[in-house]
Amino acid sequence: MRRVVLVDDHQMFRTGVKAELGESIEVVGEAGDVDEAVAVISGTEPDVVLLDVHLPGGGGIEVLRRLQGATSARFLALSVSDAAEDVIGVVRGGARGYVTKTISGPELTAAIGRVADGDAVFSPRLAGFVLDAFAATDVPAVDPELDQLTQREREVLRLIARGYAYKEIAKELFISVKTVETHVSSVLRKLQLSNRHELSRWAAARRLV
């Protein structure tokens, strides 16, 4: 049984998600804004928090900032927005994945399970953003360990962007699902820790393109 807190300012959406989530998920709390979210998450200590990117009081990123180091809960960002700055921002803020609100119930249930197990959840779109952000440039990497993706990680991301599920990726690349998860988690770590110029500047520049 996964214990989950829903953070979203639309009551209707929370009700809908609750109805769609599978048997293996128990919703232990709900919140509609940043203050409420911080209180509920601290009070219930769930396994996973479904966090809306756009929230009154500073957005999902503010919830992540305030709870940094104070909770063992893992965050999965959920949004209607496709804007790169939102997606990258919330993942760099500490979310372990990002899915759009159009995701189906079973898919969301699976994503929650994966986040609860400590893995990362990348939607095709997020994979696309990450490939864009880590695109090869002429600028020498400051920290190659963090600032560049390996060839294998790139392959995995490309397959995610092409719409492959982890199982399909494993089959395609002749590796185990566990290895796919390891690659994705490694990409997530780089995404969060890298100081690559593109990552900090990228979101802003994206708007100007």
Partner: protein, 391 residues
């Protein structure tokens, strides 16, 4: 002049909005002219030999007053016109060098009158407040300004006393006096002008804001509300409802978030547009992810057409819930993947006369120096991979 549209075409003096007896306002309404022009005409006629006064008096006596509640008289404006007449008269009376100094003042005066005329009552009150308040607060600056004006006028008066023997020396003195007057006026007027400027600025910003609001409202009305109506009318057809909702979502998203890229110019925008069209036509959601971008050329356009064909096939025949499209530009390589998890098919079993896959997908790519690979098997979905080097 909304009054000009009234059916009553008889010339009347206006009680509402009059300055003196309502003659000018009545005439302006009657002739469809701007009030300011009529008033200035009277002013000029008055100055040029007093004709204006006579004409005004004649109208006053002969023209009946309109039956309407009398509005409050704008005494400040009346004073402005009075000052204008006085100033112009003094110009015509004290000919010669005095005109040199008075003309700039006159131009200023007319300018102010026009501004005053165009402002509404609130603005006028605000202007008066901002003029008198700094006068009280910044008394030192005002005092200096006043002193300069007085000194300048004193110079003039002195000059007028022994007019008649104008020499180069005196002309210089008059110029100095003029400069002193203008400096004084500038000093007094600076805060007022500044305030006026800010006022205009604020007004411009407010106008931009309201334009944006109007644009947003128009957009929501044309697109979202329209779609919601269609959804209600098609409520019995879940597939159509989903198609409408998806199409609207895509449109709204691109309006809100997308960088304004031209689908005729760049690859990523073109792929998005294509996918949107296919989605609309066939009612199957198409998820598009783009990495990198480049300019379109003829060969890439052909590649897009081939990709479109693959999307249509996937939407029409695969029976999949959705189609994934991934377009990537990396260095010189452009790649597009169209994938579905539908029924798939046996590539070798397609009869040679069926042109869909061979002709418009594989053949088209080869003719343009690219490559298309179809990977499929019955029950295993389909993926078409398009590759091309940028020219």
């Amino acid at each position: 002049m909304t009054e000009a549209a009234q059916p009553d075409t008889r010339l009347t003096r206006r009680a509402d909005g009059r300055l003196f007896a309502g003659v000018a306002r009545g005439l302006a309404d009657h002739l469809g002219l701007d009030l300011l022009i009529v008033r200035l005409a009277f002013v000029l006629l008055t100055v040029a030999g007093g004709m204006g006064v006579a004409a005004y008096a004649a109208f006053w006596v002969l023209v009946p007053q309109r039956e309407e509640p009398a509005g409050r008289r704008d005494w400040l404006q009346l004073a402005a016109y009075g000052a204008l007449i006085a100033g112009l008269s003094s110009v015509t009376w004290s000919r010669g060098v005095a005109q040199v100094a008075l003309w700039p003042l006159l131009v200023c005066g007319i300018g102010c009158a026009i501004l005053w005329q165009q402002a509404d009552r609130d603005q006028r009150q605000r202007w008066v407040r901002t003029t008198t308040m700094p006068l009280r607060r910044m008394w030192l600056r005002s005092l200096v300004g006043m002193a300069l004006v007085l000194a300048g006028i004193g110079g003039f008066v002195f000059q007028q006393l022994d007019a008649g023997q104008a020499s180069g020396h005196e002309v210089r003195q008059i110029l100095v006096a003029t400069v002193v007057i203008l400096a004084g006026v500038a000093m007094i007027a600076t805060p007022w002008v500044l305030r006026l400027w800010q006022d205009l600025d604020a007004e411009r910003r407010e106008r931009i804001r309201s334009q944006e609001r109007a644009e947003l409202a128009a957009h929501v009305h044309d697109s979202v509300l329209h779609t919601l109506t269609l959804i209600q009318r098609n409520a019995a057809d879940p597939r159509e409802v989903q198609r409408l909702a998806r199409s609207q979502e895509r449109e709204l998203r691109s309006w809100l978030y997308a960088p304004r890229a031209d689908p005729d110019q760049t690859l990523a925008a073109a792929v998005q547009k294509l996918a949107g069209e296919v989605e609309d036509d066939h009612g199957v959601p198409i998820e598009v992810v783009c990495v990198g971008d480049c300019r379109l050329d003829d060969r890439l356009a052909a590649m897009l057409q081939a990709a479109r064909e693959a999307m249509v096939n996937a939407a029409k025949y695969a029976g999949a819930e959705s189609v994934s499209v991934f377009a990537e530009v990396e260095g010189e390589e452009v790649a597009i993947f169209v994938r579905d998890r539908g029924k798939g098919f046996d590539l070798d079993a397609i009869p040679p006369d069926r042109m869909g896959v061979r002709g418009s997908i594989i053949g088209r790519m080869e003719r343009n120096g690219g490559k298309a690979t179809v990977r499929t098997a019955p029950g295993d979905g389909t993926e078409v991979r398009f590759e091309m080097k940028r020219s």
